[in-house]
Symmetry: C2
Subunit: 343 residues, 2 copies
């Protein structure tokens, strides 16, 4: 299950409804979603891959990952957060195979190396089958990141890297993040999940009454009504933080959720001065900049450090990298006529 809803508004003005973040080449020369599918494909063949997204994104995603056809899409009538859509996906899967293991990926994560990731997912699938818990992939922190949620590891469940979960922790402040990094007991919550599909249904029945009450709609095949009445909830809040049957896999691969322009500077290849450049640009005496230019006319950056400069046909955006996480603040402040660009 590849979660590919949402427009990725922190990549405005490049991300737009007709060109959502997951089809942008933010981490390599290929769209993020194409990288995601290719990465898992040796482990999970394409005919078992489903892309969970909204109707507006089916066509652009189909263009970006051209091995996909209609059969690969599960189209959510409304975006209701991860809980309703993953419950629907699990229900769908159980109908096809009551013993199915479900792997839930995000279309827009950057992970390296691919082989280490597949090995970890395979180990998680085995652990999910053996221990019958809801597993999340936890990534060992490499910096005091304040933009991610964390998981405190509980006791090891076996020797595969599978642990119980002691606690889920929301985005910490800088000092707390630093102490987490030093302690070694904390993992980044990647939002990548592995579980027996039927176990998710059981846990929803056990701990999430606001969703459990909607299962008869899915049983009846009324997906439209299910999404119409479903509350907007994340799977973390609705199920994982409440359940006694969760686990975390301790992973060491490089992982980034490419949440901001700042993350692009970490993910894409840089020049000798640490600049990431896409399109026609000249950077002189500049370092640590991200320049994304979709126009034919050059962007010139001189004497700058850690700036983001984005040019699409209809707008030019300049901001410091350190403000990239606050892009939604900017969007709220912009007049609609400026905000609603498209290419």
């Amino acid at each position: 299950m590849v979660l590919a809803g949402g427009v990725g508004s922190r990549f405005w003005p490049v991300s737009t409804p007709s060109r959502p973040k997951q089809i942008l080449p933010l981490a390599s020369d290929r769209p993020l979603i194409a990288d995601t599918i290719e990465r898992i494909r040796p482990l999970i063949p394409l005919d078992r891959v489903r892309v969970l997204t909204g109707e507006p994104y089916v066509e652009p995603i189909g263009r970006a990952a051209d091995d996909l056809d209609e059969s690969h899409f599960l189209v959510e009538p409304h975006a209701r957060g991860t809980a309703p859509v993953l419950l629907w996906a699990a229900h769908h899967l159980v109908k096809a195979d009551p013993d199915a293991i479900m792997v839930s990926l995000h279309a827009d994560h950057v992970i390296q190396p691919d082989a280490a990731f597949r090995e970890l997912v395979a180990a998680a699938a085995l652990a999910a089958d053996t221990h019958d818990r809801l597993f999340t992939i936890g990534v060992r922190p490499t910096r005091a990141e304040t933009g991610y949620g964390y998981i405190r590891k509980g006791p090891a469940l076996d020797r595969s890297g599978a642990h119980a979960v002691a606690a889920f922790i929301e985005k910490p402040d800088r000092d707390t993040a630093r102490s987490y990094l030093e302690s070694g007991d904390y993992l980044w919550n990647s939002g990548i999940f592995v579980w027996r599909a039927v176990r998710l249904l059981d846990e929803v029945l056990a701990v999430a009454p606001e969703l459990a009450g909607l299962l008869p709609l899915l049983d009846a095949g009324d997906v439209k009504e299910y999404f119409a009445v479903a509350p907007t909830l994340s799977i973390d809040h609705a199920v994982l933080e409440r359940s006694q049957r969760v686990g975390v896999m301790d992973a060491t691969f490089d992982w980034d959720d490419v949440g901001t322009w700042d993350a692009v500077a970490r993910s894409r290849p840089t020049d000798a001065a640490g600049n990431v450049v896409q399109g026609v640009a000249e950077l002189v005496e500049s370092s640590g900049c991200v320049v994304w230019n979709e126009a034919d006319e050059p962007v010139v950056v001189f004497g700058a450090e850690d700036l983001v400069v984005v040019r699409v046909q209809s707008v030019t955006l300049v901001l410091p990298r350190q403000r990239a996480a606050d892009l939604k603040t900017l969007l709220d402040a912009l007049p609609a006529g400026v905000r609603e660009v498209d290419g």
Copy 2:
């Protein structure tokens, strides 16, 4: 005499050969040269104004200051610095009137208030006539500017503000500039001159043999040959720094040579956060920025301080204000295809 040669390359990419700096509205809503001519006009009527410039700039300047016609231009066949062109201008003026007082202005200076400036020029004209010295206008420093030359005042010549000159000083370093600001004995060398035209000819004969030898070409009316063989020299180096007959007028008006994008931030009206905006732009949580956008598409700046963002049709430039004085370094580094924009 209004000096209006040169393209003003530190305003690249807005300044170009077909649109030199002096016709840009960098300090108000009017072209700099139109402001300059209007400022002096109550003192020096238009029929006594001459614009000294190169052939390529005659047409754009004529468009920018539409009261000018062909009779107002003295066209230099080659740009050779201020010494050859001002000597030519003085020679031209002496032929028309041996007693003429010559006032030499720059097309691209910002001065306020206009009336105080005219009073000072009138006082300088009187002092130039009385003392028969080459007067430069010295402006009392208001900051420790390292981008200007300075003049150390000598003894007062009378009570009009006229002083002898103790020394001309090249651009100082930061600490020296600060000591000049504090001492009160130093003035910025504005490059605005007032003298009897014939006195300049006499001083050239006295101290500048490399120019004196060319006077017969001007006597013979061979302006083309004069400029063809003239050395490139500034009037400061060739005459003023060598002459014993110089003076300085002590002035207190606001003066700026609008040399850089940084100076634009000082000269044009700002918003409450100190931003200067020309064209379509949205600045959010930003201060001290200069945004100059000549395209119809908006420029958006978020969370930035003291940045310059310039958008013309064919290029976008981003730099910190503090690097604005180094723009020629950038131009040297750019490939010709990027540098040679035109609009």
